[in-house]
Symmetry: C2
Subunit: 157 residues, 2 copies
């Protein structure tokens, strides 16, 4: 399936493109509905994107952070493999499609405002989530106890 | 100190405002410097903001997600209390200043592209990170195994 097709709308062999990807999900309701309701009403920003935090389902470590459009979220929910929108390449991105390090999604959560997603996942292949070869993208810590300066040195794991 | 003053630039009692908050930190280098170097070169977006993921330092649970401008990051590093930029209120926000649920920051990390931050923190006060009274903002799970629809129901913890 072409990544830009709307899943589930293939009728008699004709794939219908979604006129507006955000219509894949319910429209935004009132603040109370969004916060306390159970209907999924995700907020996609002006670029049609929602941030997604990915943690290791076993260790809880934050592995990566990326963006999803409505289609990437739909594919992730359906296939339980992490799909994202690559802002740099301007296209849908199935994480690990080339490296084999697919993200097997165990759980997806959303926050009070329904404008952020949290995915708990297991990294397949060699278990490295970062394109640099690191297990997690967050391999550097910042110094604490001092304010900003142009000379702050991080520390690598 | 006024939240909008540039920390560390108070000279003879005269506080000099930062002409550009991003100058608080080193400018962005080459992709290789950003990925493999140790110099902190955070990327603030067109609105001057960088996303920050906050996890519970003890449990690893994702507690909240917010945005920081350069000043909020500087204050967070210096005081080890979580500071953010409220996009809805358009102002600096010391998390828990009113509720008492301050974020005691144990560790701050950045990712390969240095355009996301990960804070490990302990929530003070009654331990609730979410303004709704929940411990974590991520109190709802999404259904898996089916594509998008306007009827997807989340499940509350």
């Amino acid at each position: 399936m072409d990544g830009r097709d709307k899943p589930g709308h293939d009728n008699a062999g004709i794939t219908i493109m979604a006129p507006n990807p955000s219509e894949l999900f319910a429209p935004r309701g009132t603040p109370d509905e969004i916060e306390t309701g159970t209907l999924l009403q995700p907020r996609f920003d002006a670029d049609g994107l929602i941030p997604a935090i990915v943690t290791d389902a076993a260790s809880g470590e934050v592995l990566m952070f990326a963006w999803m459009n409505a289609e990437a979220l739909s594919l992730t929910l359906q296939t339980q493999l992490g799909h994202f929108w690559s802002r740099s390449r301007g296209k849908l991105w199935k994480k690990g499609e080339e490296s084999g390090n697919l993200l097997r999604v165990i759980e997806v959560r959303t926050d009070c405002d329904q404008d952020v997603l949290w995915l708990k996942a297991a990294v397949e292949g060699d278990g490295r989530a970062c394109h640099t070869g690191a297990r997690s993208c967050f391999y550097r810590t910042l110094p604490l106890g001092q304010p900003a300066s142009p000379n702050l040195q991080t520390k690598r794991d």
